[in-house]
């Protein structure tokens, strides 16, 4: 229901106003971030003024969210996409997805966010959806240090289905609201270490309060968008579809 209302809003103005990103979003912590710059790449900025850029901009990027069960992957996505939070736990069956439309620097852009099941028994299904991801979000529970250790394994599995170096990796600690600031700092230190190992960008969020959720997804959208634009500009040919993703659903 709410999504429908969103849709209407999105259509009267091309993209919902709260999905318009004009300034390049900043990192969470400089100790673990993928890019230090706080402005658009010059070529991308100039290309955005060009109508032809829309061709590249209509491309959709695939985001895959992985991590242990009960760390809050679905909650994170629901907080951002539907702005709601359900306290009760419901295991995700296999996979689910959401589509989010953005406008970056005046160009429409779409993220396809795949929510995977954290339960071991669904892994064989969920893993078939890892392919063709441009962004891999590995999620752990800030309150459960074991889930942080498992992120390595999750990332490895997700990367196995993708070309090395073709993905942005994020490491997300959830349930920040459950921790005191001291505990949080301690856990974040560990997480930053692991993020550096994984060459990932670290964020600490709370889906319950919504803290940093929007900022985080904006950052994801901006990085993915810029990367797509640069690839399109380098490739010269307009990117319309990714061949891997089109066959994925039929394979699944």
């Amino acid at each position: 229901m709410q999504q429908m209302e969103n849709g209407k809003l999105q259509f009267s103005t091309p993209v919902s106003r709260d999905r318009v990103i004009s300034k390049f979003p900043k990192w969470y912590t400089p100790q673990a971030c993928l890019q230090m710059k706080d402005h658009w790449h010059g070529r991308v900025r100039s290309a955005c003024k060009d109508r032809a850029a829309w061709n590249a901009g209509m491309k959709m990027s695939k985001v895959v969210v992985v991590g242990d069960l009960y760390v809050g992957k679905t909650c994170l996505i629901n907080r951002f996409c539907k702005d709601m939070f359900d306290r009760d736990y419901k295991a995700t069956i296999g996979v689910d997805f959401e589509i989010e439309r953005f406008e970056l620097s005046g160009v429409p852009y779409t993220l396809q966010i795949w929510d995977t099941a954290g339960q071991e028994k669904f892994k064989c299904i969920a893993s078939t959806y890892y392919r063709g991801a441009q962004v891999i979000i590995t999620v752990f529970d800030l309150a459960d240090i074991r889930t942080l250790e498992h992120t390595r394994q999750w990332l490895e599995e997700a990367l196995r289905e993708n070309d090395p170096g073709s993905c942005f990796v994020f490491l997300i600690g959830t349930k920040r609201d459950l921790l005191s600031s001291a505990e949080c700092q301690r856990t974040e230190r560990d997480a930053i270490k692991i993020a550096a190992e994984m060459q990932a960008e670290f964020w600490s969020v709370s889906s319950k309060t919504g803290e940093n959720v929007r900022e985080f997804f904006f950052r994801v959208a901006a990085l993915a968008f810029e990367e797509s634009m640069l690839r399109a500009l380098e490739g010269g040919a307009p990117l319309t579809s990714e061949p891997e993703t089109s066959s994925e659903l039929t394979a699944a």
């Binding site: 429908m4 849709g7 069956i93 028994k121 319309t240 579809s241 993703t245 089109s246 699944a252």
Partner: protein, 450 residues
Amino acid sequence: MEDFGSALEKNAAELTVMDVYDIAAVVGQEFERIIDQYGCEALARLMPKVVRVLEIVEVLVSRNNISPETEELRLELDRLRLERMDRLEKEKKHQKELELVEDVWRGEAQDLLSQIAQLQAENKNLLTNLSLNDCPVTEEELQRQEGVSERERQVMKKLKEVVDKQRDEIRAKDRELTLRNDDVEALQQQQNRLMKINHDLRHKMAVVEAQGKALIQQKVELEAVAQAREQELGQLHQEVTRLRDRLRGEPAHNEEEPAPAPPQLSHAETSDAQSSVWAECGNDPEFLAECFEVGESLSLFPGLEDGEHAEKGEDYCDEDGDEEEEEEEAVLLWGACEEDPAGERGALDLKDPNRPRFTLQELRDVLHERNELKAKVFMLQEEIAYYKSEEQEEEMGTPPSMPSPVPRSNIQPESGIKRLIFTAIMPMVAAGLIADDPTLQPIRRLVSFV
């Protein structure tokens, strides 16, 4: 003798004394002759008288030319007379010349007069003209006029340049205009094409909807059949267990309860499953229904080749370890039992309402179907929103939107359909959420236009 005669012929005034003697001689000769003829007596009386006349003449003549001076004077007089005559003649000539000159002069004067008259008339004309122009003609102005003409020439030159430039500009504009016209025409054609595509798409959508409905109908029928089958199977199973019990003989006779368990599976349990297994699939009742239906029907159909498959599955629950190789494909759904503390997972219990029922492939199919449906819902929502926003726009302030679609599309380069394609359809196709069927080919072509 001649001399005498000449003296007689002389003018009286010119006669000299000598001439008189000559005349007397002549007369005496004449007398001698007469005496010879007639004697002296005839002349006796005449003689003295003649002599007397001659003497008078002599005196008179001698009195006339008193001296040579007089002669000179007379000559002088004659000369003077001649001179006078000459002068008179000259005077006459002069007079004539003068008259001639006068005549010429008069003619000239006449000419000049006429010229003057002409000029005066002209002057008058000019004056009237001037008065018409209302500006007194002065020398300064004449000079200025010369300057003006110079300036005029320059201005003319400049004007000509300007005209040339403008002509070139007009030509360029003309060319541009034709180009624009071509563009407009191309856009119109494109729009027509798009409208046609839209129409086709809507038609196709309607067809697909109808097909969907037909499929649902079919599914319901199949489900009914499946249910009947399941009941039948349940009965059969009951019979089998009963037979088995009987075969085991009387020693195990005391236990009669497990026998009726399988038949209970048929209906009460499935409804039970509905509330537990699928409860976690979200509060979306449609999705729940969809999944449940699919799950139930599919759990029977993959084994249609050997109708025993369902039974086999249940057997497998009993014999567990025996069919290791089957476990791969039959990873079973545990549903909520894992979270449910009551659902302790031991051996697969037939009585357990949450026991696994679906194969991995079935779950994959269900998920795939769900994803496709979700993508379709998203697309339809986008379209509905688009039409709603269009309605709103029409209500807001542009009532004549349909009668003049061409200028409207020109004003708004981003037409709704294009936006729709860009924001909704193409990304889905790109992501493989919508099958890339040939009906989308026109849209692809359109994208390459923009």
